[in-house]
Symmetry: C2
Subunit: 79 residues, 2 copies
């Protein structure tokens, strides 16, 4: 079973990396970009055949390792 976890910064948390990308795009002549926020994506292969068990595993993985829940949100999509 495959799953995708997306970790993004919470609203209001400063994202200097996103700001740098915004500036770089402008200096490359790519106009019309109003804002950029960067996050992380994890494509995870799971042994569990059951979607509920897989979701529990991924939730534990996010809480313990993949996301810093003080400043980041995560979403889990199981394919």
């Amino acid at each position: 079973m495959k799953a995708r976890v997306v970790v993004t910064l919470k609203t209001g948390v400063l994202d200097p990396q996103g700001k740098a990308i915004e500036g770089a795009l402008a200096s490359l002549g790519i106009a019309g970009v109003g804002g950029v926020r960067q996050g992380k994506v994890f494509d995870i292969e799971l042994a569990q055949p059951d979607a509920d068990a897989a979701r529990e595993t991924l939730k534990a993985a996010c809480e313990k390792l993949l996301a810093n829940t003080v400043i980041e949100n995560y979403t889990i999509d199981i394919a």
Copy 2:
């Protein structure tokens, strides 16, 4: 208009970061994870009201800055 760009490593390209996460999850006692590949996600706010123009802008941004197309794939989702 909001868009999400996801940049992932191409199949066959080694992902030491993903391997490290896999090892860390195992040592945290989270079982059943067969493989992890890490990528990047960009949430981009666009000024263009037209989806086609927005897609062209994002394609240029990916080719020039966001993705290294030698080793990475990108997908563009416009909301």
